[in-house]
């Protein structure tokens, strides 16, 4: 077994850290306060090639694999969860769906500008009646000659407010349901019938756009069907598997920030004549965060390696998402506690980190759904079928 990062991935991490410290960290508090998507930073990420980190070079990417993408998610989320979320929704699910199931022409037309940050992507699955129960979507697509007419809408769409391209899941055959009845479409957001209805006002990740989208007689050319008609469910399940892994990577970043902050403050802050680091109550907290962080890191990068070497990883990706989001939340909670009143202050980044971490246990499949996925995979091997 070899657990070392390759020199190219070490160099990539260094490049991303340099970018994150110089370009992302300084705006993190501001975009949270002003509820603004950092468009300029997103474009810069594209200019240096990072938004194409995991896509092949022939489609405008860097070709650094899933490993490279996990490193990007870790490092960006270490300084700003909002920017990390924008990046994740763009690369990890929006563009990823096109990369996984798009044909060559679709990849040339859409993936290249997305990889370069000239355009941005979102992933349109969730509906008000279909979140974790993704198969329950109601958006309809009806064939009309060379086109499909979409009617319906999506909610909680990350990047929805500014995306140029949305991969939309719609029901094409209600009789067939999830297996065969759902199709994925590549939708350009300046087409007639596409509307951003509203932006959500959220507790955390406030430097992101979470939008409600409405489709009214939205005409999509047949060539923009992503993958095969009726196989949309497969497309988005594949995208979400990858997404779960990289959310686990994002959580490494959040937990790392918490640990660094806690160690620093424990060294600095003196109470009862000695620094906090000398108190066992604090030492144990820090030991716990460090241990869980290390376990998470091993899990996530092992799964990235499975992806890059073409091995099955779906079950482990659910574990990355489940464990990662809970580790990050716990780490930030503990770090905040160690900082006392300072941690609770809005002028200190932990408060933002605490609000931002909470979404990790909710989006792209709640912790409960991840547990269902994991348990049903385990029991399936024993011949027991679990229905959610």
């Amino acid at each position: 077994m070899d657990f070392t990062f390759s020199p190219e991935h070490i160099a990539l991490r260094r490049m991303i850290r340099e970018f994150a410290e110089n370009e992302v960290a300084p705006i993190a508090a501001e975009i949270d306060r002003d509820h603004q998507v950092p468009m300029e930073t997103m474009r810069k990420l594209g200019q240096v090639g990072l938004l194409g980190v995991c896509f092949p070079q022939e489609y405008g990417g860097m070709g650094a694999g899933e490993m490279g993408y996990c490193i990007l998610m870790e490092e960006i989320n270490r300084v700003c969860t909002s920017t990390g979320t924008n990046v994740g929704a763009h690369i990890g699910i929006g563009a990823m769906a096109i990369y996984l199931d798009g044909n060559d022409e679709q990849k040339r037309r859409y993936l290249i500008p997305l990889a370069r940050g000239e355009q941005f992507a979102a992933f349109g699955l969730t509906e008000s009646g279909a979140g974790s129960d993704a198969a329950a979507i109601r958006t309809r697509a009806v064939r009309e000659g060379d086109s499909w007419i979409l009617d319906g809408g999506k909610v909680f769409i990350t990047n929805g407010g500014y995306a140029d391209v949305v991969t939309v899941m719609a029901v094409t055959d209600p009789a067939l349901g999830a297996r065969g009845g759902i199709t994925a479409f590549i939708v350009e957001t300046d087409w007639e019938g596409f509307k951003v209805a509203r932006e959500e006002d959220k507790m955390g990740i406030r430097g992101t756009s979470t939008a409600e989208l409405v489709f009214e007689e939205l005409r999509v050319p047949h060539e923009n069907v992503l993958g095969k008609v009726g196989e949309g469910f497969v497309t988005f399940m594949k995208s979400l598997d990858m997404g779960r892994l990289t959310l686990g990577a994002a959580c490494i970043g959040g937990a790392e920030m918490a640990l660094e902050s806690a160690v620093r403050w424990a060294k600095t802050r003196r109470q009862f004549g000695a620094e906090l680091a000398s108190k066992q109550a604090i030492q144990w907290k820090i030991a716990d965060i460090a241990t869980e962080l290390e376990a998470l890191r091993s899990l996530v990068y092992r799964v990235a390696w499975l992806v890059d070497t073409g091995q099955p990883f779906g079950q482990l990706a659910a574990m990355c998402k489940l464990y990662g989001s809970e580790v990050a939340s716990r780490a930030i909670d503990i770090a905040l506690q160690i900082h006392g009143g300072l941690g609770f202050s809005r002028d200190f980044p932990l408060e933002r980190g605490f609000r931002d971490a909470r979404i990790g246990e909710i989006y792209e499949g709640t912790s409960e759904v991840q547990r269902i996925v994991i348990a049903s995979n385990i029991f399936r091997e024993h011949g027991v079928r679990i229905r959610p």
Binding site: E8, M15, G49, G63
Partner: protein, 262 residues
């Protein structure tokens, strides 16, 4: 125009804690950076290349255990880099490096402009660039904020006697850049990956040359050697000045002057 950029690496000081009382340096994060002033030199070279036909070649400032910073230089836009290797090079000091670098530059076909940082972040040594100027028989411009080239000359902006002045010299010229003078651009993602994989247009941009092929082994013997480390006495905090306000002010002025001279 051929521009040589000399690059070194330095252990990131934010990852170390120096404890005089323990007589040791604790490394909590072993991360190497391009020497900050050398990074400015690389940016200066790339800016010249942005505006005219120029070849930028990166060479190491000291023996390196790996070629990492040279690959980084290529990822950020350098055309070529030469990794100097060989057991005899291991202990090379500035004098020995001057010999090797001079021979390497000669093999490259000479240089119109050599860019290097004015000082190193760790050891504060500025001699390598100027030794090179001597060895190459060129002019030297030290402590530049900016470098450019026009009409076959090299121009630079410096601070002299509290003023910024523009100066000029005929090639070959060695220019040393101040740390913080220019912000080094980010690597290009594709070049970064490809330079590590050895593919694409940067596939053969990095070469390794054995120092023994460039100079005699005797020329690699260092002139300067290290004889250990010393730690300043532990900092004493909480010292107070006494006396009248004027006397206290005098004590403060003396202390500040002492510190500011450094």
């Amino acid at each position: 125009m051929r521009i040589i950029v000399i690059l070194g690496r330095v252990l990131d000081p934010s990852g170390i804690v120096v404890k005089g009382s323990a007589g040791r340096i604790f490394v909590n994060r072993e991360e190497y950076l391009i020497q900050p002033a050398d990074a400015c030199a690389l940016e200066a070279a790339l800016r010249i290349k942005d505006g005219m036909a120029a070849e930028v070649v990166a060479l190491p400032r000291s023996p390196l255990p790996d070629d990492d910073i040279l690959r980084q230089a290529i990822a950020r836009g350098a055309d070529r880099a030469i990794y100097l290797t060989g057991p005899a090079l291991k202990a090379a000091d500035e004098a020995a490096m001057t010999g090797v670098l001079t021979a390497a530059i000669e093999r490259l076909g000479g240089a119109d402009l050599v860019l290097i940082g004015s000082t190193t972040l760790d050891t504060g040594q500025g001699q390598l660039g100027l030794r090179l100027a001597e060895a190459l028989g060129g002019a030297q411009i030290t402590g530049a904020w900016q470098v450019s080239s026009a009409d076959g000359q090299v121009q630079a902006v410096l601070q002299r006697n509290g003023r910024y002045v523009a100066v000029e010299a005929d090639p070959p010229v060695v220019v040393t850049l101040l740390p913080g003078a220019l912000k080094l651009r980010y690597p290009d993602g594709v070049r970064l990956i490809n330079v590590y994989r050895g593919v694409g247009e940067v596939g053969d941009a990095l070469e390794a040359w054995d120092a023994a092929d460039l100079v005699d082994e005797a020329a690699l013997t260092p002139l300067v050697e290290s004889r250990g480390k010393e730690f300043a006495p532990e900092r004493e905090r909480g010292v107070r000045a006494s006396g009248t306000p004027a006397e206290m002010a005098q004590a403060a002025a003396d202390a500040l002057r002492q510190r500011m001279r450094r």
